[in-house]
Amino acid sequence: MVETADTIKLSHFYSHSPEEVWKALSDEKAISKWFIQADFQPLVGYVYTFTHETTTITGEVLVANPPERLSYTWIVSGTAVSTVVTWDLQEKDGGTELTITHSGIEKYGDSAINMFNSFKQGWGHCISELETYLQ
């Protein structure tokens, strides 16, 4: 089925407490280990910077409600429009159900092209490495 979905929503279960998952999502040292090189503080209004090679992502922390919800705007270098990334943590069976929602993609319009290209160049190989690993 072909979709032109405006929102990406993915969930994954972790056999770790919401507090542990929260730390991985909000502590800049932890973020830099598993996700992306980060200058980040889980404080509302904090303007963070994520860096991957030549691609920079900046944004503002919108919600920091430990250990339940972390939300920030997501602006890729070379583009002017902001999307929103939200992490929701829910305690479940002694672990954590984590849901990521990436919304507002439809707002990109023209800058979607820049976004697409920078994403493809900067992170494309990162994604393919992960995919290869997962197979």
Partner: protein, 112 residues
């Protein structure tokens, strides 16, 4: 290069909310839709719909053909795939990251 130009046109075409609505509507329909069908659905003029259809047609997101005096529109699945690919790029990215997080958490657990 051609690939990039194609993406350029496609993303310009879907930048407009009414055009995104038209794509959804045409894709969900059981058969080809006329300009009147679409205009009725969105409460806009035939002229406005025609302009949107022309943009979508140029971008290769919709195919249209004339049957007598009626122009019939259907989705162009190949064009729409470019959009789906873009979304799936994000999906693959986040999926990969969710897996990386798991490895990180498992590693952190065994260290302590």
């Amino acid at each position: 290069m051609l690939e990039t130009q194609k993406e350029d046109t496609v993303f310009k075409a879907i930048a407009d909310p009414i055009r995104r609505g038209i794509i959804h509507h045409v894709t969900a329909a059981s058969g080809p839709l006329t300009i009147n069908d679409i205009a009725g659905q969105f409460g806009v003029s035939r002229q406005a719909v025609t302009r949107h259809i022309n943009v979508l047609d140029d971008a290769g997101l919709i195919q249209s053909e004339w049957e007598g005096r009626e122009r019939r529109c259907r989705p162009d699945l190949q064009g729409l795939k470019v959009v789906a690919d873009w979304v799936s790029t994000y999906q693959a990215f986040w999926k990969g990251k969710l897996k990386s997080l798991e490895q990180h958490l498992d590693g952190a657990g065994s260290e302590s």
